[in-house]
């Protein structure tokens, strides 16, 4: 038997550095912008944020044209759309079977998972930054007395927490269902149905702020500081609606056969 060129039998991997984490995050961010659905969703989020603030600036009562109103109005459409972004971050990969390629390039699936979560948080932060900038600009343009209205850094923190929770919940639902339509529908329908049920069934009413994330998130919208109990309720709501689906989804993603 004549071998052509003799190479060593073992692959020399000593000179091959591992893929740095930042590059995985970079790729995940890019994957959100290089498909039509992802790109348009990002554009829509930006445009609606600006549009909502612009409408308030044009039509609201003068005394309402303060920063708190603007940031509140910017947050609402974002609150609806950021979770969709979270869903797409996962499902654009699995629905299209591109996950097979990703996991072949990076067999350590937990690193991909962490990169996706990081990318989701970065998108959330970017959306928050945008909302703050647009709201601040509108506030300056409106030029009302007491326009910053005692808005504190803590309020920014609560807003950031709210939006980040939204996008992570979307991500978690995406991982749980691995299907855009199912994840998005469930994301919107199940918490509403749950709110209705807990609202109607009397025995559950006391438990509602503990079990229903929408209810436990309410204090984050207000200007008041959260009480210890409210934080605890936020924690249980997060556990049920974000941590549990994320854990189940991650467990499956890390173990499952990738088709």
């Amino acid at each position: 038997m004549s071998e052509t060129i003799q190479r060593p039998e073992t692959l020399d991997i000593s000179g091959t550095p591992a893929i740095p984490f930042y590059r995985l995050v970079e790729v995940e961010l890019r994957k959100m912008t290089d498909t039509r659905s992802g790109k348009w969703l990002l554009i829509v989020i930006a445009v609606i944020t600006a549009l909502a603030v612009g409408l308030v600036l044009a039509f609201a009562q003068p005394q309402d044209k303060v920063f708190e109103t603007f940031i509140g109005i910017a947050a609402t459409p974002q609150g609806f759309l950021l979770p969709v972004l979270g869903v797409l971050l996962v499902t654009s990969e699995w629905g299209e079977r591109a996950g097979m390629t990703t996991f072949t390039l990076v067999p350590q699936r937990s690193r991909i998972l962490l990169a996706k979560i990081t990318a989701a948080v970065l998108f959330g932060l970017a959306a928050i930054a945008l909302a703050l900038i647009v709201a601040a600009l509108a506030t300056l343009l409106a030029n009302q007395p007491d326009r910053w209205g005692g808005y504190e850094i803590g309020d920014v923190g609560k807003f950031a927490l709210l939006q980040t929770m939204g996008i992570l919940q979307g991500l978690a639902f995406g991982m749980l269902f691995l299907n855009s339509a199912a994840a998005i529908v469930t994301y919107y329908v199940v918490p509403i149905a749950f709110s209705v049920v807990t609202g109607v069934v009397e025995q559950l009413q006391d438990l509602q702020p503990w079990l229903d994330l929408n209810t436990s998130q309410q204090p984050l919208f207000g200007g008041e500081r959260l009480t210890g109990q409210e934080w605890a309720q936020l924690a249980t709501g997060t556990l049920i609606w974000i941590v549990v689906p994320l854990t189940v989804g991650a467990w499956r993603m890390l173990r499952a056969e990738v088709k």
Binding site: I5, E9, V27, T104, L105
Partner: protein, 299 residues
Amino acid sequence: MIEVETVSKTYGSFTALDQVSFRARQGRVTGFLGPNGAGKSTTMRVMVGLTPPTSGKVTIGGHRYADLPNPARHVGTLLDASAQHAGRTGREILALGATTIGVPTTKVDELLALVGLSAKEAKRRVRHYSLGMRQRLGIAHALLGDPSVLILDEPVNGLDPAGIHWMRVMLREYAGRGCTVLLSSHLLHEVEMIADDIVLIDHGRILWQGEKNDLLSGQGTVVRAVETDALQQALTADGLSVTAAAEGLHVQAETLRVGTVAARHGITLVELRPAQGAGLEALFLQLTAGRPNVAGIAS
């Protein structure tokens, strides 16, 4: 070198892979041959860790694939040309891969040229690609990291004759540089043309493995006669093993013996030669006997 060691994979009561062991050597093209559903893809997916095996293991150059720090820099894989987001352009898919594994994006243009995708085609979304174009893109993706091991699942699927020829030349050249090339196919002819070594799989079991040259020698005789049935009876009566092949009868004997039998019975031969190409086909048919769908595939 790829070393597959007693890999089994079961799904419930279904055994997809049953104690599969074989080796793909470096500097050689190994053809992984079997009918559809034989277990080729599953084996290849086990190699790169997409499918966890029930038992057994695979090492590539002495390492488990998942232990490679940046696997695509050593092992190029094409498992499914359609496993891409259809909404991305061909160029973008390669650019994403290049960024992930850390090769400069100039490599993308280089590979697009190598696999024959024009700048215009590269800008189109993969949704609009033909199977052949996807296959070319998949090959480019596999070559991004300049790997020394190639694992390609049905790489010639959907390629036109010029593409198949190009692939053959390219893989030969890769093996000539000392790389390990493993490609699967359900097309006997294809494997016979490209491969140095052949691994034959069916029903999740390795049926045969060895050098193609072994198949080309001592593989009996191909004979064609006017009176085919009479010849088959005569040969069988003489104690020879006879199988019907595409181009006549395949006999486990030297040409002299077959000719003598034919002469004794006054049978008119139109062809009598040592089996060469027919060796693999006969072996394939023989080993996969009893599978009605095999004959159609073995062409």
